[in-house]
């Protein structure tokens, strides 16, 4: 298997029902980004997801937004979503308090192909909120740390205050032998780390091109430069995976909004092997 697919339903099913779920904790990661920990209640018995999949989260009367799952897929009964407050629905989600109920549909889409990386080096490159859908990959790999060789995480944030999961980043580096390199676009007086776009971090690592799998998630421009950099370092295109974002209303391929050339990001993606969409990446206003 080269590509983890959604929990492929045995028989055609309806667009997945909306379930009320309870928020059990709100963690503000940065000024504008927060994590909702969700108690799945009865739904927890049947809810399974793959790292890289997303849910549609509903705020009563306000609407739905597609949000990737950022928690450990091996945990049952609970989920986390890390959300960047930017639009109407995510601003509504930002007002949710502990004990409040939101709606959830999912999980949807294709996930990261973790099995494809076993026995290999893994190079994860994340920009901004793009780290959120990759955190479940880290959890999955660290649970079987010895099944993977080097794990490299290159992460770019806007500023030191915008760095997500700071405590975990340190823990992954110190306790799990993960090569974590973080850079920021703009430093501040306390920042002693790297400054610059995330691709500058490639100059501080050496990749074994023949044995490395790349997972990339972030703004499209950042992903394009990252792919170029990986290409220059000899990574084969079919070893590179990226997660795409588009407007989504239905999440099941009916509403048409997420079309990306011939692909529906919601059901064919959001995670794609690079060769499948390579020819689309340079098309403006696609």
């Amino acid at each position: 298997m080269t590509h983890e697919t959604m929990n492929a339903p045995a028989a055609p099913r309806e667009g997945v029902r909306l379930h009320p779920v309870t928020v059990k904790k709100v963690i503000w990661e940065t000024d504008d980004t927060f994590t909702l920990q969700i108690d799945l209640g009865a739904l927890g018995n049947t809810f399974n997801f793959l790292p890289g999949q997303f849910n549609m989260l509903y705020v009563f009367g306000l609407g739905e937004a597609a949000i990737s799952i950022s928690s450990d897929a091996s945990q049952t009964g609970t989920l986390a979503h890390t959300i960047h407050r930017v639009g109407t629905v995510t601003s509504g989600l930002a007002q949710v308090k502990r004990g409040d109920v939101i709606g959830l549909r999912g999980p949807f889409g294709a996930g990261w192909p973790i099995t494809a990386a076993r026995g290999k080096d893994v190079c994860i490159v994340a920009g901004g909120i793009g780290l959120a859908p990759l955190r479940p990959v880290m959890y999955a790999m660290l649970r079987e740390r010895t099944a993977f060789e080097r794990i490299i995480l290159l992460y770019g944030a806007r500023s030191p205050l915008d760095i997500l999961y700071r405590v975990e980043l340190e823990e992954w580096a110190k306790e799990h032998n993960v090569e974590v390199l973080v850079t920021v676009d703009r430093g501040d007086s306390s920042w002693k780390g790297y400054i610059g776009v995330v691709t500058t971090l490639f100059s501080y690592i050496k990749l074994d091109a023949r044995a490395t799998v790349g997972y990339v998630c972030g703004p499209e421009t950042m992903m394009k430069y990252t792919i170029d950099e990986m290409g220059r370092r000899g990574l084969a295109e079919d070893q590179i995976y990226l997660s795409m974002e588009r407007n989504m209303k239905c999440a099941v391929g009916f509403c048409g909004h997420c079309q990306y050339g011939p692909e529906f990001i919601c059901k064919d993606g959001p995670v794609f092997a690079l060769p499948r969409i390579r020819h689309l990446l340079d098309r403006k206003e696609l």
């Binding site: 930017v86 909004h257 696609l286």
Partner: protein, 370 residues
């Protein structure tokens, strides 16, 4: 193949009503032939024809008494299978949480679609692939589809915007109908040839007082349908069409068409295969009741591709290109056919008279070829 005399057409409709079907068919309303509820053959647009050109539609009085002597109007059958507005669910606050109830509570009536043209039947088959053919199924569509009885009517005349012959979707039906009719009017002889496509169609026909068609009667119908095809002037050049559009993502013709396109969404609303939708969430004044409504949407609207970083397709150029490329190229990747049935509605109802067959010809003329 059997014969239904024109004077007996109403018996077919009565037969369907007596079996519990609601009848939907062509009828004249506000200067156009639309599909709406009908009660008898009296409601059909008998003796009414139409003139269609790019950006032009008008009705005319025919000099005969044809029941189905018109081309397709602004309404397509998707209105009944995939309604323009649909309440998806209702939610009611309860303590800190809320409860959810389904939006559709009334059972859908069994509906007979009377007068489905071959191009339109192909449009329905294309939407079946979208809503029923993948890992997910649209429940409301499935219910409406399962409850639909299709009386197709073959075309014996082509309008100026028709190009079904080149799309392989008409002017005669080949599949997907319960009953298919061909209307024949020769001097004073006015009759329908009828054939059943399903056992249910056979049963409905069998209950009528029909007789087997004679060879000349059958041939007259087949000839009329064949003439509608050969007389068709507009055509789509479909050779390597998916590849052509894929190869011409950058082409000066997109700039040209963008000067004419108003991004008004008319083409997508009248198109029998366009399936895009959006949702609208709302609450009542008390804030305790909410509902979600699905509405037809169009890839021509600005908000269609809105993401946190902005709109993916801000230009009309990109939006027209998306629409045409989806229909005539990406659709093939997604559903295994082209997404156009050649009904010509998008040409007729475009306020600028943009003709997609001409746009394809222009791209073929100046474009990159594989």
């Amino acid at each position: 193949m059997v014969i239904i005399e024109s004077t007996e057409l109403n018996h077919l409709l009565e037969g369907l009503i007596s079996r519990g079907y609601l009848l939907v068919g062509p009828t004249v309303r506000s200067g156009a032939i639309v599909y709406d509820e009908i009660r008898s053959a009296e409601d059909l647009p008998r003796g009414v024809g139409d003139e269609q050109l790019p950006a032009r539609y008008s009705l005319r009085r025919r000099d005969d008494a044809m029941f189905f002597g018109y081309g397709v109007g602004p309404v397509s059958w998707k209105k009944f299978l995939y309604p323009p507005r649909l309440t998806m669910f209702r939610a009611t606050k309860a303590g800190k949480g809320f409860t959810i109830t389904p939006g559709e509570t009334e059972p859908r009536p069994r509906t007979a679609f009377v007068g489905v043209r071959p191009c339109e039947l192909n449009g329905i088959i294309m939407q079946d692939k979208v809503f029923l053919g993948g890992p997910y199924v649209d429940g409301a569509y499935k219910k409406a589809r399962d409850n639909a009885f299709i009386v197709a009517v073959n075309c014996t005349e082509s309008g100026a915007n028709c190009f079904c012959a080149s799309m392989g979707t008409g002017p005669g039906v080949t599949k997907g109908f319960d009953i298919a009719l061909t209307e024949v009017l020769q001097g004073k002889r006015h009759y329908f040839t009828a054939e059943a496509g399903t056992s249910l169609g056979k049963e409905v026909l069998g209950a009528l007082s029909t007789r087997e068609a004679t060879d000349p009667e059958a041939k007259a119908g087949l000839d009329a349908v064949a003439r509608a095809g050969t007389s068709q002037v507009k055509r789509m050049d479909v050779r390597d069409l998916p590849q052509l559009l894929n190869d011409n993502f950058e082409n000066p013709r997109w700039d040209d068409v963008a000067k004419r396109c108003l991004a008004c969404t008319n083409c997508t609303m009248v198109c029998p295969t366009c399936f895009c939708s959006t949702v609208e969430d709302s609450t009542d004044l008390t804030g305790t009741h909410a509902e979600r409504t699905r509405k037809w949407d169009s890839c021509f609207t600005m908000d269609f591709t809105k993401v946190a970083g902005g709109n993916i397709r801000p230009s009309t150029r990109a939006r027209y290109r998306q629409w045409l490329t989806h229909k005539l190229s990406n659709w093939m990747n997604q559903f295994g056919t082209l997404g156009c049935v050649g009904c010509g509605r998008c040409i007729t109802w475009c306020p600028s008279g943009i003709d997609l067959t001409a746009e394809v010809d222009a791209i073929r003329g100046n474009g990159v070829h594989a």
